[in-house]
Symmetry: C2
Subunit: 211 residues, 2 copies
DNA sequence: CAAATTTACTTAACGCTGTAAATAATCCAA
DNA sequence: TTGGATTATTTACAGCGTTAAGTAAATTTG
């Protein structure tokens, strides 16, 4: 059925148009200025047409949140080349922060906004993307423990601690809580990276991965 | 002038009514469901009356954000009794997390929502409340360094690291990022507290404040 | 005490918002 | 070509923040 196939493709294409228009608005004007009507303007359809492709606005945000995770995954491909688990961990942290600072809108949807999680609950499934990311972190920590780079601890607790710190750094920065505290604007990222340095250094018990 | 004084008092009282109604809505129905019109309903005035007491909605949020800091300060009074700076630090962390988990709406305004900071920029002044809180943390760290409880490091960087971690814990929890990862709901707070334990333990170089 | 003025508040309106229901246009198979 | 399904639009509802204009009460002034 070549015809049904083509239709399916068209459907996907409009979906893609909607998501791209949403992200464009999201990036250019912020979360609060993304409206169904403005998305419709961009893709040159009527506002209600969007509801033929997405159940509601939250579903659009949920999809963008997933695209965000794909982008992050892409960025993290280089991690596979790093043998030393502690160095890999550092790079993971740096990437995470870089991703968050360079894509604050995606980061918002992935880790701050409630809407995507609401959709997840609605669908009754669990957070596959977040789960995968955290598992990756945990596995790296376990490897680092086994090879004697860091002290033995509950890997779940340690994962959470590390994730919390990098998330804290990114979200405080993007939500404008550091601007008022760190005098020079250009100094924010360096200070954040120093925090990562401190973290890695205080994890390292072998000195093998010292700065 | 007894009459002007009384008028002033009445004005303040209506302001207070508005703020209380806002917080009530905020707590009961979340940030997105606080509207000028619903606030007006609660205080039984017309919506436009609110604009006689606050310039706009953001100004209401800014005021609530300041009230939040007062509440947090109140909670932290007990800290003065603790001599050991490392134990004091731990208590600070526990209080911070407890405050955030028990008052997620205030916490939101204080550390997540952009509106209060926008207002701050608009007024051209700096973040007095955040500044004071961070200074308190930094001073405790400096004291702990001087007394040999923790290793010597840049206190600014270390303050940021610690603040980021506790903020990360609270915000990941309140923004529903842990629910999907920590199996049992009742286990979230315990796991978070274990993270704090880990942090304090890895700071402690003297063993004096071990668990 | 009456008139003028200030204060406190409300009504009406503008231009937005998400979304549901009804209607119209388009497409494909018989 | 006609009829049913799909796709898109029009219309509508109820809500939003905010401004401008209007009103009534309180206060000050003559």
């Amino acid at each position: 059925m070549g015809i049904a196939e083509r239709k399916e493709k068209q459907k996907l294409e409009i979906r893609k148009m909607i998501l791209e228009a949403s992200m464009q608005l999201f990036v250019e004007e912020g979360f609060n200025n993304v409206s169904i009507r403005r998305i419709a303007d961009i893709i040159e359809y009527s506002p209600t047409t969007i509801y033929l492709y997405f159940k509601d606005k939250d579903e659009i945000f949920f999809n963008l949140h997933e695209i965000g995770f794909q982008k992050m995954l892409e960025m993290n491909k280089e991690l596979d080349d790093i043998q030393n688990p502690l160095l890999r961990l550092r790079k993971m942290g740096e990437n995470y922060i870089r991703f968050g600072m360079e894509n604050p809108e995606y980061y918002d949807l992935m880790f701050i906004q409630r809407e995507p999680m609401k959709k997840l609950t609605e669908m009754g499934c669990d957070w596959k993307n977040g789960d995968a990311a955290l598992t990756r972190l945990r596995d790296t920590l376990i490897e680092a423990m086994e090879k004697g780079y860091i002290a033995q601890t509950d890997p779940i607790v340690l994962s959470l601690s590390i994730w919390s710190m990098v998330h804290g750094l990114v979200s405080l920065a993007t939500r404008e809580r550091l601007e008022k505290l760190v005098p020079e604007k250009g100094q924010i990222l360096p200070v954040i990276m120093q925090s990562v340095d401190w973290l890695v250094k205080s994890l390292d018990i072998s000195g093998k991965a010292a700065l």
